[in-house]
Amino acid sequence: MVAASNALKPMRISRLTLLLALAFLLISFTAPAQDSVRAVRRAKSTTAPAMPTNVEPIDTAGLKDLISKPKDKPLLVNFWATFCDPCRDEFPDLVKVDKDFRPKSIAFVTVSLDDMTDIKTTVPQFLAQMKATMPAYLLNVSDPEPAINAVDPKWQGELPATFLYNAKGEIVFKAFGRVNTDALREAIERLAKN
């Protein structure tokens, strides 16, 4: 056993050297590429106007009004919270959807389920970080059930949840849990064609 492990030692060292060399090569090749990507991102972010993210409180009546009032175009609503991992994970995709379709094809609002005490802190901070410019609300209710049922009686309240309403106010697409962005884009494009 001892002899065998000794015999293996030189080979381990040479493998380690080889790995280190490879890692060094990889880092030296990829690092400049990443820097240039960052530089492009920096350039983009400085040209875009810094939008202050204002989050408005909304109650159940306000939410009902928002989704049921007559619309001139489809409405996309995303329910999310800063404490919800899949909500944060899907947010960059939703910001892309927003950039691609609003205001031409859809209206888009987000409704946060964070606590009212977060309305000036963590919620706008996250939205600013995401460069999210769609109108942002925070549900301010003591009992969440009427709000959940007003949106969709089949919804149990799991987050995130995304609903697309046509101009008539009917739900034409919904997703509970992380949204399939391709399916959402298809649904928006289908509405735009009609």
Binding site: P86, D143, E145, I148, W155, E158, N180, A183
Partner: protein, 201 residues
């Protein structure tokens, strides 16, 4: 004859394609929960140590509360103390309180470590294939089901109205348990709240 076979095959393909397209739109929808009053079938699930339990073996003489919980969900974690207290308070009243973790992202060892860290002493079952979560139409954490001694579903929904213990106005689950113990009908057998979606396998 051949033409007919071809047209049947084409028709079948069309139907299958249509079904796939129609189905894809609601791929992440959870099965509907059983209606209040429905009798829930017996099931067997392992706890975090791998030991199998039947619903029957866990149930108290006055019923059982099953709560879908999570390791990572801050809403579920906000209820840790309240769930532990509930289990403590109803043990002597013949109602067992059991946790079920159905998140595919959280394995038995993770659930066990989390329970130890948060001082959760009630039994926690691991529903690795969402078998029971699907049967009960559980969508989020925390989400509670109260079954009587005959497995009849008496209450389904939230523990109370707010994850913030200072803002509780309606202790819906406790109210349901108290009504059942007093032999009274449950005034509010269903109540919703926000929670984290269960990550299904």
């Amino acid at each position: 004859m051949k033409k007919r076979t071809v047209s049947i095959v084409l028709a079948a393909l069309f139907v299958i394609t249509a079904a796939v397209i129609a189905g894809s739109g609601r791929s992440n929808e959870v099965p509907a929960p059983p209606a209040i009053g429905t009798t829930v079938d017996e099931f067997t699930l392992p706890d975090v140590n791998g030991q199998e339990h039947t619903l029957k073996s866990l149930k108290g003489k006055n019923g059982i509360v099953l709560i879908f919980i999570a390791v990572q969900c801050p809403v579920s974690n906000a209820y840790n103390d309240r769930m532990e207290k509930l289990a403590e308070d109803y043990k002597d009243k013949g109602i067992a309180v059991i946790g079920i973790n159905a998140n595919s992202s959280e394995d038995a060892a993770t659930v066990k470590a989390h329970a130890a860290e948060k001082h959760l002493t009630f039994t926690i079952l691991k529903d690795a294939g969402n078998k029971v979560a699907d049967k009960l139409g559980a969508a989020r954490t925390p989400e509670a089901y109260f079954l009587d001694a005959n497995n009849k579903l008496l209450y389904h929904g939230r523990i109370d109205n707010s994850q913030n213990p200072d803002a509780i106005e309606s202790s819906d689950l406790r109210n349901a348990l108290e009504s059942a113990l007093a032999g009274k009908p449950i005034e509010k057998p269903e109540a919703k709240s926000f929670g984290c979606s269960i990550k299904r396998a």
